[in-house]
Point group: C2
């Protein structure tokens, strides 16, 4: 009696789904079966969306955000202020955009300094940031990497090389909106006190 | 200043990923970004696996398990015993196979009786089961729908129409292997007592 398993094509699909972030072997199997069995599933639409996104979407050569044309929608928007907000990843741009609090341009570093992971300044898009500051006549660079250790190190490194070229600021750290003092950790409170402002 | 969002192709990919079972809007976005940005990702391999699985995999016309040829690997295996194990879904076959405790054939109903969801006997593959019992000279049918209310109802319904045609049995209910009494619910314990055997 031969050992039975799913047909090879199903196994291959499970294997590919399993590589997605947050998907384990059980959920990959569940997704594959759903894709093949459910009347609501449309595996070919997903396949087409993957192929189309892979073919069309590139990193904007100027700022690193997602683009389908020569430049991304933000870099081609001439009504934007010349201020540059430096973020770690292209995925950090939309949260800032949705806040509605920033009307300038962005620069995605593509990561943060992390000696343990062998990420050095040469691995980040810092050279192109320096060129932009010169050519775009940037009055201010807002440093907005995350507030973890690597993010802080990246912000400090950038501040040291940008100082003198333009105004350099760091986004504020403190209590998150709606957060009570009892839920804040000690470091957040220390930074919130440090960053206090006159009223 | 125009409202910025991901390029349309990314949005479409997020939308398609979001339809997968167990995937919410945040994880769909995370998956899409990973697929487009990670060096380890291979979106075209996933697209190909989807297309290939969709094109190659069909339900076996005899038993309903996954097949790529005219019949599935189990139905084409002539060394199997003529006993039929009736399960709800094609996905219930492999767990039974992996147990190594069954050497017969299977029949996937494609669901279970559930008046609340409008699933009636006509929606299940019962006619083809009756034909198989006649043509394959089946000595025994093992009823293995789940042990929930609908599974029990389905097993009882099948038992009522199969009685007289062949021997009809139901897989046992009781303590799961490795389960202590303190973790078992009352219904499981009641059924374990009911189904006790002489030693």
């Amino acid at each position: 009696m031969a050992r039975i398993d799913y047909p090879e094509a199903v196994g291959k699909l499970v294997e590919e789904l399993r590589r997605l972030p947050g998907v384990g072997p059980r959920s990959a199997e569940r997704m594959a079966i759903w894709l093949l069995q459910s009347a609501k599933a449309d595996p070919l639409a997903l396949a087409t969306a993957l192929e189309k996104a892979k073919a069309e979407v590139v990193a904007c050569p100027v700022c690193g955000f997602f683009a389908t044309a020569e430049r991304c929608a933000i870099c081609s928007d001439h009504s934007r202020e010349p201020v540059i907000c430096v973020v770690e990843q292209a995925t950090d741009v939309l949260p800032l955009e949705r806040s509605g609090a920033f009307r300038g341009r962005y620069h995605c570093l593509g990561g943060k300094l992390s000696p343990l992971d062998n990420v050095t300044p040469e691995d980040l898009r810092i050279g192109s940031l320096l060129r932009r500051i010169d050519t775009e006549k940037v009055p201010e660079v807002i440093l907005a990497p995350g507030s973890d250790v690597e993010g802080e190190a990246t912000a400090n490194y950038l501040a040291s090389i940008l100082r003198g070229r333009c105004q350099v600021t760091r986004i504020a750290q403190g209590l998150p909106a709606g957060g009570g003092l009892e839920h804040a950790d000690a470091l957040t409170l220390a930074r919130a006190l440090e960053g206090r402002r006159d009223l």
